[in-house]
Structures are given as C-alpha cells and as structure tokens.
Amino acid sequence: MIHLFLRDVGLSVRSGGGFGLALIFFLIVVTLIPFALGPDQSALAVVAPGVLWLGALLACLLSLDRIFGLDFEDGTLDLLATSPLPQEAVYIAKAAAHWLTTGLPLALAAPVLGVLLNLDFEIGKILGLSLLLGTPALSLIGAFGASLTLGVKRGGLLLSLLVLPLYVPSLIFGAQAVRLAGQGLAYDGALVLLSAISLGAAAILPFASGAALRINLR
C-alpha cells in the first residue's frame, strides 16, 4: 500500500502536466478574477475567501480522472485486484497520493495568492488552514467519483456532474470559516465541522469506492 502510494506520488510528480498543473490553474483563476470583477481592492477582499475556495475546488477537479484512468487503461488496476491488497486500500493510497500532489500544494499556496486578492495575510493563513483540513475530503470524494465513472468513456464531464454536488458541504464550511475570520468572529466551529466531513469521508467512502472498483473490474 505504501509502495503504491509512493509510486503514484512519484508518477504524478515526474510526468508532465500532473503535479504543477493544478497549482498553475489555481494561479490563473486568481489572475482572472480581477478582470471579471474589476480591480477595486475592497470588493476583491470581500469575495476573496469564496473565490479562492472555488478555485481550489476546480483545480482539484481537474486531475481527478487521472487517479484511476491511466491505471484502468493499461491494466494496472486488474493486477492490483489480483494482489492481496483490498480495493479499499488501493482507493486510500490513490486518494492520499492525489491529496499530497494537489490538495497540499493548493493549501500552501492559498495564503500567498490571497495577498493578490487583497486578503489580509493573517486571514490568508486561516484560509490555508481551512484548505488543509478541507482538501482531504475533496480528494476522497473525487476519487470516489472517479471510481464510479471508471468504465465510462470520456467521463470527465459526468465525473464533475457527480462530484460537484458532493463538494457542497465542504465548500460551505470552508468558505464560511474564512469569512467569519474576516469579520473577526469565532471561526473554529466551521473548521471543526469541515474536519468532521474529511474524517467522515475517510471513514465511509473507502467501502463505497472499494465496492465501485470491484464492480468495474468484474
């Protein structure tokens, strides 16, 4: 399982267009926002938490079909299915690798990009923290969606249709925590609920996704 995890991390770091792409996409979204909304500094600071969360969410979505897609095509998943490793563990390893190469960099970059949108750096740090706690859920849910649409040809659009509604609770709590922090209110409740979703997803989704993988490899 650890080997699988390291292999996936290594593959996505080395192969072009995996690792850095989500981060660059995030940067581009942030760059485009002032063009869409106008360069007014105070207006940007108001929308910054939500926009940054949304950008991170979309960047996360970009790389989802890579989680299982290539391995399904070249038969690696079939090999893994014959190994003693249960499908649930395959899912966890792949979701964790996805998080390490997508969620974690996004969370680290968010405070810096927040500065571009006139978000106070202190609040930017809370934004980073909320992404750190929230992106595991995004990776887990996304990998679950990817395991559902495994056999569907050109399932990218379908994948986002299935996954985005499932992202709603994480988005609500994550953006809300940063907004509350911006108003100087207590934000730890939202962060606790956000982590609860991540932990709950880690507890339940392996079984759902393992079942989906087994069905698809049948």
């Binding site: 299935l162 069905i215 698809n216």
Partner: protein, 256 residues
C-alpha cells in the same frame, strides 16, 4: 415455535412480490386502481383547494399555490428516499425489480423537485418580492435536483445494465448521506426566509400553523400526489421490466 415459523413465511411471501413475473401480475392489476384513485383525489383536492376555499387575509389568493407546492416537495424528498431504499435492497438482495423501481423513481422525483422549485418561485415573487433567494430550504432543493440529475446521468452513461445498477446504487446511497449533510450545512450558511413547516402531523400543533379550511384539501392533494407518484412509478418500473425482456428476446434471436 409458532412465532418463529410465521415470520419467515411472511417475508418469503413479501419478497416473492418482487419476482419480476409476480410483480408484473400484481402491478398490472393494481395500476388502474392506483391511477383512478390518484386522478380522483388530485381532481377533488385541487378543485376544492382552488375554488372552494377562502383567500388568506395576508397572502390573498396566492396561498392556493400551497396545494401544488407542498405535495410536490413532499414527493420530491420521498422519491429520493425510495431510490435509497431500492438501491439498498438491490445491493443486499439482488432483486431486479427494486433497482428498476429506483431507476423509474428518479425522473419522477426530479420533476417533482422542479415543480416545487417553480411553484415556490411563482409564489415568492409577490410575497417575498423575488423569485429566488439563497435560502437554506431553496438551496437544498436545488442541490437535491442536482443529485437526481447525477443519478440519471450515471444510469445513461454505463452500457452494461447490471454494472449500471450496481454503480448507481452505490451513488444513490452515498448521495443520500451527502444530501442530508448538505441539508444541514446550508442551515449553517445562511439565515432562512422560507417559513417553517406548515404541516405538522403532531396533534394540536396543526392548529397554530394552518387553519382546517386549508388543511383538509391540502391533505387530499398530498394523498393525490402520493398516488400519482405511485402510478407513475408502477408504469415506469413495468416499462423497465418489459424493455429488459425485449432485450433478452432480441439477444436470443441473434443467437439463433
């Protein structure tokens, strides 16, 4: 001893109802009755509600949209619940009829969600001054609609029927968990403009929220929507069973 022998017998007979052949038999006989009862209670409930109830003091005649809005919303939620149960029964007991019923329930539930959203918007314009607000109840219904769309899209995307049945069932179950989660998450996110539940089934509490003049026709149209849902569900499931049979026949013909 007696108790133990009765219970399995009952369940045996219960599950036999889900045998496709038995199902086609009893559902064919039940369908005209369900359709007639649905038509009767819908017509009488709606006509009673629209023409023979007084206007509300504050809301005027717009109050009457409740006879469409509340039953549709009720069936939209129950439709998803039914999909959840159907998916669960399919995954546990491999009863084909149950997953086909879940498949047939999805479009009906989706339309019910749309009716609830549309009638709510039409009522909201004169009452709240806007067609749409990002209120928790409205938002969670919109999310429910998206869940229905995702479920239907996944059914349509997968070629193999049993794989599709399995995967959509997994989605329906996970979706049900997240739909509940979203329902409570949106409460956290925004204050509501939508009023509280109008119809509470607890004794006595009903008097405070809604007068009996409005309540009785509402109850009738709620029953009508429930029966309408049942009718459409039976038709949909029978169509699915028949289309499966057709496919088997076609496959057999090709073999010969």
């Amino acid at each position: 001893m007696n108790n133990r022998s009765i219970a399995p017998k009952f369940w045996d007979r219960f599950w036999r109802l889900a045998n496709p052949k038995v199902f086609m038999g009893w559902s064919g006989r039940a369908l005209p009755w369900a359709a007639a009862a649905a038509g009767l209670s819908l017509c009488s409930g709606l006509i009673w509600g629209y023409f023979f109830t007084p206007d509300d003091i504050r809301q005027g005649s717009t109050v009457k949209i409740i006879y469409l809005h509340v039953p549709a919303a009720l069936m939209a939620i129950n439709g998803y619940l039914l999909m959840f149960v159907g998916a669960l029964v399919w995954l546990i007991r491999r009863q084909h009829v149950s997953v086909l019923a879940a498949k047939a329930a999805a479009p009906v539930g989706m339309v019910m969600t749309l009716i609830a959203l549309a009638t709510g918007a039409i009522w909201g314009q004169p009452m709240w001054g806007t067609y749409w607000v990002w209120d928790p109840r409205l938002t969670s219904f919109l999310i429910l609609f998206l869940f229905y769309v995702g479920y239907i899209a996944l059914w349509a995307a997968i070629e193999d029927e049993d794989t599709a049945a399995d995967l959509t069932s997994v989605l329906a179950i996970v979706g049900a968990v997240f739909a509940m989660l979203s329902r409570y998450a949106v409460l956290f996110w925004n204050q509501g403009l939508h009023q509280g539940t109008t119809v509470t089934m607890a004794d006595g509490a009903q008097q405070d929220n809604i007068s009996n003049v409005f309540f009785q026709p509402l109850l009738l149209s709620m029953a009508g929507f429930g029966l309408l849902f049942l009718t459409l569900l039976l038709i949909g499931t029978r169509t699915e069973v028949r289309s499966r049979r057709l496919k088997v026949l076609q496959a057999r013909e090709r073999m010969e």
